[in-house]
Amino acid sequence: MKKKYKLPIIASGPVHPLQEEMEFFQLYVDGETVVDIDVRLSYNHRGIEKISESLQFDQVPFLVSRICGICSASHPLAYVQAVEEIAGITPPERALYVRTIINELERIHSHILWVGLAGHFIGYETVFMWAWKYREPVLDMLEKITGNRNNYGNVKVGGCREDLPEGIDAEINPILDQIEKKMDMLTKAVLDDPILHARLKGVGVLKKEDAVAYAVTGPTARASGIPIDVRRDDPYAAYDLVDWNVCVQKEGDVFAKAVVRLLETFESIKMVRKAMAKLPKGPIAVEVKEIPPGEAIGHAEAPRGETFHYVRSEGGNTPARHKARAPSYVNVPSFKASCIGEKISDVLITLAAVDPCYSCTERVGVVERHTNRVIFDFDKLLQLSREKTEKIRKGI
């Protein structure tokens, strides 16, 4: 009979050089092979939804843009779309284009950031440094357009706060050309490197069935052969007014995820160019008098996947309920399907390959102080949430 022994745990977190945020992955290892994984988040719960209920509708975008430093354009956009749906507002066309341009610039910088981080995670520091250098002009561009490198705060209910500055189209195209050229070089270098193939191909495969079962979104789903993209499936902003392609790969491994992101970078560059060329004249916002009672959802395709916001108004000045779901929330559990049975080195790049963003994902977790016993785990919280939803439904 095989002796049953306790497996050693390799802890990735709560503070670990892999990621810059607080996260805790307990890898149960047998030699180098990971046989089980325990994902523990909630080190950085900030109570954003609760704060949101105490802010006015106009102030919330500034709050939700701070959910995530990287997706700081898509969260406010999803929220604003929900509020606009409640109030029945259609923003002017120019505002839609400006939103598209800012969101696509965000996607470009986020994807390049991921490429750099992925290089760092597998010890390829040169890719890390180069990618982040190439990302810098995009941030400069965003600063020129919105005033900030991150947390742009440019959307508001009814349109945009600021118009594009004058003469920006003369500046943005050369910068896009420059980024495209450099990313082209980097992409070719990355995709042709035999050692990168050896490290990334066939690693951390998320099969199509698993991807469907875990309901993953964004590049993680698209790399597993599921052609979903909110921008195409439920067009918002000006995504139905410019033509672009959804990039899909079938393999589902880390390499496919990298390819999807690299291709999407080029698509986004194209999209920004087209949007700049078609940019209509006119106002950038409509005046909003009041938000009537009602509820609505808004979603946007963040660089990591679908960002989902639910807003309920009771006719007052503030949202009565505001619920945000970041893409990492559905992408992170897919580790159970993609990581088990892999080697430690592969697991850690697989963890990074969905581009998890922990602070967006944080939910409250209650742990007893001295015994580390989990009092409220996921199931318990889910039950609580369902009970509360039931109560609210009865109230309506």
Binding site: V29, E32, G123, I195, R199, S345
Partner: protein
């Protein structure tokens, strides 16, 4: 006087002090060139020294689960052995063969001394009682087992080439070839088999130094420093110094084996320095143009790619020896 001369030789030039300073400088070159490749500015020239001094002033923590004696002595042994190797190699370089006091078979001793730092690292990390270090130890062991055979095969090629250059066909004087001084007279890297052996040995040295793509035992984004995770303060400083001295000794060993050593006189020292820098730059370039490999891939790479190539190189070298063709 003889004693003072020897002490000076061991402690100041080119022993402890000179080697450590050169090693820290080489560390800086590695970091600076890496930074330039990365489009970064890079650290000032004294940064490696500052790092070591700062570490020496820090508290040295020893984990409760650790085997204290092994944990503490491992870096000392590692540092001492690599320093001894460096002194051995300097003696071959700077003193004529007649009176450098080198002995028959010193090259075997050199190869042994090259293994000891890795063994000390394995001992020290396995004594530290951390699961990360345990994974790191297992990886380091696999790494040593994968590259050591290739290194010895490359070394056999060098011996055969030395015999060819020496023009000895009788077995009478063959034994003399087994010393660094006679190996350092020739440049096997100019021949086909010698070049193959040089490239393979370069990769082995890359692995010995723990540079990417073979920084698998440390792999900070996977196992957070692995073998070195529990080391801190003065003991970590010793490991850093050992790594700095390795950065002198291992490339120097390659220069002696494959490129004809350094020799005395201003011109040859300058040329020797050029050879050393060439090896160092090759190491840095490999380091910065590759991602980290997985340990199983590394074992496969050394055993199934480098191994057969080295076997071919040995056959080529034997043919060269038989037909007296130096370029084979």
């Amino acid at each position: 006087m003889e004693v003072i001369r020897h002490l000076f030789w061991l402690l100041v030039f080119p022993g402890f002090l000179f080697t450590v300073i050169l090693g820290l400088y080489a560390c800086w070159i590695v970091r600076k060139v890496t930074a330039l490749i990365h489009h970064r500015i890079g650290p000032p020239a004294l940064q490696p020294l500052y790092d070591v001094l700062k570490l020496l002033g820090k508290e040295t923590l020893i984990p409760e689960a650790a085997n204290k004696a092994v944990f503490i002595w491992a870096p000392v042994v590692g540092f001492a052995s690599v320093l001894l190797l460096a002194i051995l190699l300097w003696a071959v370089d700077f003193i004529p063969a007649r009176d450098n006091g080198m002995f028959l078979g010193d090259v075997i001793v050199a190869i042994y001394l090259m293994v000891i730092p890795s063994l000390a690292l394995i001992l020290g990390s396995s004594a530290s009682g951390s699961p990360h270090a345990a994974i790191g130890t297992a990886r380091e062991m696999k790494l040593v087992m994968s590259y050591e055979l290739v290194l010895v095969m490359a070394f056999i090629v060098v011996l055969i080439k030395t015999a060819t250059f020496h023009g000895i066909s009788d077995s009478q004087n063959d034994a003399q070839l087994l010393s660094l001084s006679s190996i350092a007279q020739y440049t096997p890297a100019l021949s086909i088999s010698g070049l193959l052996a040089f490239l393979a040995a370069l990769l082995c040295v890359q692995a010995k130094l723990g540079f990417t793509p073979f920084d698998i035992p440390e792999a900070e984004t996977e196992i957070a420093g692995g073998v070195l995770i529990e080391y801190s303060g003065a003991l970590l400083a010793l490991w850093k110094l050992a790594q700095a001295v390795m950065l002198v000794a291992f490339p120097l060993f390659l220069v002696i084996l494959f490129m004809g050593g350094i020799g005395t006189g201003f011109g040859s020292v300058l040329l020797g320095l050029g050879k050393y820098v060439l090896v160092l730059v090759l190491l840095i370039l490999i380091k910065n143009t590759n991602p980290r490999m997985r340990i199983d891939q590394t074992v496969k790479f050394f055993w199934f790619y480098c191994g057969p190539v080295m076997a071919v190189a040995i056959v080529l070298a034997m043919l060269g020896n038989y037909y007296d063709k130096w370029w084979l």
